[in-house]
């Protein structure tokens, strides 16, 4: 089992979700996050005052999936989330020791 964690542009969430659903994935966790990478922040100007906003809004998508799906799933996310411009985000893949479905006590691949 692996966990894929993708930081993407907020407006790409629908496309990423559809791409993962097409692979047969049945669940994901999504959170609104803020951060910066090479894109850096932006500047806001209110009358004479200028403010630099360092942290930009992004979406974090987390899915835990069986090993055999990892390659396809990460490729699907990358393809769906890409605009080719700076700030598209990143994908991280982590090993997962165990998964338990709370309702049934099922474990491992069956639980994800």
């Amino acid at each position: 089992m692996k966990k894929i964690e993708a930081i993407i542009k907020p407006f790409k969430l629908e496309e990423v979700k559809d791409a993962l659903s097409d692979l047969g994935l049945e669940g994901m966790t999504v959170s609104e996050v803020k951060g910066f990478g090479r894109q850096k922040g932006h500047t806001e100007i209110y009358r004479g005052s200028e403010y630099t906003v360092d942290f930009l809004p992004k979406i974090k998508v987390e899915v835990v999936i069986p090993d055999d799906l990892v390659e396809k799933a990460s490729a699907a996310i990358v393809a769906a989330a890409r605009t080719g411009k700076i700030g598209d985000g990143k994908v991280f893949i982590y090993p997962v020791d165990e998964a338990i479905r709370i309702r049934t006590d099922e474990t491992g691949d069956k639980a994800v």
Partner: protein, 499 residues
Amino acid sequence: MVGVRLVLLLIAVISASLLCTSSVSAQAAAPTPPAATLEQRVTDLEQYFQNASVGGPTGTTWTSKIAGVPGPGDNAWLIVASALVLFMTLPGLGLFYGGLVRQKNVLSVLAQCLSIAGLVIIIWWAVGYSLAFGTSFTADRTHPTLLGSILGGTDYFFLKGITGAPNTDYSYWVSQNIFSMFQLMFAIITPALIVGAVAERMKFSAVLLFVTLWMFIVYLPMAHMVWGITGMMNGVWNATASIKAIDFAGGTVVHMSSGWSALILCMMLGKRLGFGKEHMAPHSMVLCMVGTGMLWVGWYGFNAGSALAADGIAANAFVTTTLAAGVASFVWAMLEYIIRKKPSVLGFCSGAVAGLVVITPACGFVTPNSAVIIGILAGVIPFIFVMKLKGIFGYDDALDTFGVHAVGGTLGALVTGIFASVDANANLATNLKDIVGKTLWLEQLKAIGVTLMLSIVGTIIIASIVKAVIGLRASPEVETEGLDLAEHGEEGYIMDHRS
């Protein structure tokens, strides 16, 4: 709890003075003129259409059947206009300013606007209207006294004798009780404008004490001098005014007085903690825009209502107000578009308010074409102040009360002297025909000087008193936590979806 003691003291003073007031009035009966003939009754009706007095040329040739009766049309407009002017403060200015502060202070701005409304209503009812628009300090109108040219009198304390009958010193056809309410709404918004400069750090009790003293030392004298029938700067209506200045709807009384006082107060108060370092961007430009729209709409009551009649002067003021606001809003944002490549919503809003401020003293005295020129000036000059000069001087006028209202009000007072024309307002021919279009602007400069002096010196004195008695600023802890929670025990937004 200094604040609590203050409020108790205020209530005690009011109740004491109420108990002491008993209205004993003895009026000498003048000989009654003959009853009006049919033709004279028709003349009275025609006078209504022309916003003039009944009863013949001096008002005493015949006994009019409609003397002391308000004119329905004029009265209806002033009732609506009064409500519109209140709407400018509640919630217009509250939202305009509230949107510009940080989320943790949004309620403090609203609380200050609301509390100023209540406080000023009490002052106005007790003594304020009388001190501004009474006349008892002037025994003989042909011989003005110093006191009588600065303050009105004690004749209308507790709104004594103020009924639905018009006071012909101010309007032939509007009920005096409505006139007093209309003027009250101006007295509410003026100190509320100051709130913008001291937002996010002045403590609530200090705002209450400051505004109370400021009403007596700055606002009431200003209102009387410019608009009181015995006022020393009421050039249009007071033939014995020592400064023959004009101010249709409050360039000096409202915008200059609040704006210059705001500058002094924010300098004495000091900058917000973290000013220039922390992120202090507006928490809601949406609220700010909503408030701006309300201000603009309410301003029609402010400007066109200041004709004190539903006449052609009011109609012209409506047109000039529209033109100046629209032009200034557009010019301000287009300047941003050219200089920064991005026209901002705050730019459109700031320009609209600047245009409204600058046209305020002029609206009933200038032609529509002059209003367009005034609109352009209003979009450029306050823009330069707010965008460039503020940064150079380094004071923390949090929401630009000075840059918009003081600069705009001063500019407006001056251009009114330049553009005022008898074509736009025939009343200018009554007492001012020799100086309109000639040296009127010099009289305007004098009025600007008096307003500056009173606002600056008055505010220095008042703020020093408040500082010595209860202090001006909230503690650093309160300021950091936010005034909403610390001073009002509430939060503006509780966005937790579970609750």
